[in-house]
């Protein structure tokens, strides 16, 4: 790997880590959401650098462009920008740090004990990440999981519509009732 490439990956990784830390340390929910957006976009850039543009652009469109916009929308509508100073769950911070250290130790143990990779990394053809290949895989080899996901999403959509449905009013409109009261 050339020096320029190492420098690029290091810079991207730095942005990913900084935005991740910013996400969990911001006291303002809007800032936290924006750090997460920055994180998603930088990870997408890493995907592009690794030769997977399809997954990168899907990540930007779906996560950064749609889901996080809805997050921001809800935060702004509810006026919930300021996160509470006091923790609702006591001791979760200590537990969180302990678990993080345990996870890090596990990962390092894994990398050290694994030694050299037993299977040589297979060279992937540039065709592998094209939308056409991904589409063929989805609709042929993984058709059943794909259709099941579609069914689950449809059920969730119908459920959301049902739950937010407003009860049908007795009258076609509320205005005639008011007018009758006025006449009496």
């Amino acid at each position: 790997m050339s020096l320029g490439l190492i420098f690029m990956y290091a810079a991207l990784a730095l942005v990913v880590v900084i935005s991740g830390v910013g996400l969990i340390t911001s006291r303002n929910a809007i800032y936290a959401a924006l750090f997460l957006v920055l994180n998603f976009i930088t990870v997408a850039l890493l995907y592009i650098a690794l030769g997977a543009p399809f997954i990168a652009l899907a990540q930007v469109t779906v996560y950064a462009g749609s889901i996080m916009v809805l997050f921001l929308f809800v935060i702004m509508l509810l006026g919930a920008e300021q996160l509470p100073i006091a923790e609702p769950l006591r001791g979760q911070r200590v537990l969180g740090i302990l678990l993080a250290v345990a996870f890090l130790a596990e990962m390092m143990l894994f990398v050290m004990l694994r030694g050299a990779p037993t299977i040589a990394g297979q060279a992937v053809s540039p065709e592998f990440s094209t939308p056409a290949t991904i589409g063929m895989l989805l609709f042929e080899r993984y058709l059943l999981p794909f259709e099941m996901t579609a069914g689950i999403l449809l059920a969730a959509t119908v459920g959301a519509v049902f739950m937010t449905r407003q009860p049908r009013p007795e009258h076609k409109s509320a205005l005639p009732a008011v007018r009758e009261e006025g006449q009496e």
């Binding site: 924006l34 916009v69 921001l72």
Partner: protein
């Protein structure tokens, strides 16, 4: 392998695209004022330079010297970066649009596009979906209820119309069986997709008007309801950036629409290109793209001059209950026809 020469080529092309978008923005404002004036039987700007040609420069100088106000209760950092976030997507979105066939100059071949990717359409969708942030954040950080309402309206509107916009892209993708815009343009050499995909074309046109908050869908900045919507608290150059984003997006949308449905840089009278001396004017080239973009912009301005703004609930109903189902139907019908005709 990436060489230094390639990097320089990309940098120079990027600078050219940014310059075209910024200069284009300046002259689209003049174009709009002139066309609106003509439609309303006025003359329009005619003082600065011949035919008012220096009017955009005069406006820029005025806006630079204006005082920039920041509301005392605003969120200073986000108030500052919101206009920048709004402008960036508009500057980068046209990177995947081809301007013409490759040209040979001094023994080297130059492609007239920055990137011709096989995920170009996805790139367009990704950048469009990101462009919501600037407006939303501007509305929120101003700490003004009109601005916030404008920001929220525009978020809801852009998310709703993104669906119809995405579905309108599917028709050209299926007909050209490629997501690269160069391939889609070349696939239209026999017949433009506006004739094969009339429903898709209309969907794209209406959804793109809503995406760039143009009349009759300019709810986020409805004056009589929201003063000026998300940019009510902005002044000086920061306001100019919002203005720039709006007009730049108009150019970008026209370029995308012209490339997907009107044959892009392809000439409709290519058979005349054998005429000596003036033949190149009838051949394919960037001038045809420019002409199509100008015509597209004219229709957008024409609509603004003649149509009233539609009500907000009707706008959402149109997006979800009419355009989205038509988009799905268009995809299904196109797919069936392609299978029956055999590609």
């Amino acid at each position: 392998m990436i060489t230094a020469a390639m990097v320089w080529e990309w940098v120079i092309k990027s600078v050219i695209i940014c310059l075209i978008m910024t200069i284009g923005f300046a002259y689209v404002t003049l174009y709009e004022r002139k066309v609106l004036a003509r439609i309303q039987v006025r003359v329009g700007p005619n003082r600065a330079g011949p035919w008012g040609a220096l009017q955009p420069l005069a406006d820029a100088v005025k806006l630079i010297f204006k005082e920039e106000l920041t509301p005392a209760t605003a969120d200073k950092k986000i108030f500052f970066i919101a206009p920048i976030i709004t402008v960036l997507p508009m500057l980068v979105i046209t990177a995947v649009i081809p301007w013409g066939e490759a040209v040979t100059f001094g023994g080297k071949t130059f492609n007239l596009y920055l990137a011709d990717s096989n995920v170009a359409i996805l790139y367009l969708l990704a950048v469009t979906s990101i462009s919501v942030y600037g407006i939303t954040l501007a509305g929120w950080s101003s700490n003004n209820k009109y601005a916030l309402m404008g920001g929220l309206r525009s978020t809801a509107q852009m998310i709703s119309y993104e669906l119809a916009l995405g579905l309108s892209f599917v028709g050209p993708i299926m007909l050209a069986s490629s997501m690269s815009i160069m391939d889609i343009v070349h696939a239209q050499s026999k017949i433009w997709y506006v004739f094969l995909q009339p429903a898709g074309f209309l969907l794209f046109f209406v959804a793109s008007l809503a995406e760039v908050n143009r009349s009759p869908f300019d709810m986020p900045e409805a004056e009589q309801e929201l003063t000026a919507g998300y940019h009510a608290e902005y002044s000086g150059m920061k306001f100019a950036l919002f203005f720039m984003a709006e007009y730049g997006k108009m150019i970008a949308v026209s370029m995308i629409g012209a490339s997907l449905f009107l044959g892009g840089f392809l000439s409709p009278v290519g058979f005349l290109s054998n005429i000596p001396v003036v033949g190149f004017l009838f051949g394919n080239g960037p001038h045809w793209l420019l002409l199509k973009v100008a015509a597209w912009l004219f229709v957008m301005i024409w609509i603004r001059a003649t149509w009233p703004r539609i009500r907000y609930d009707r706008l959402m109903a149109l997006g979800w209950k009419i355009m989205f189902p038509i988009g799905l139907l268009n995809v299904v019908i196109t797919a069936i026809v392609i299978v029956l005709v055999g590609g």
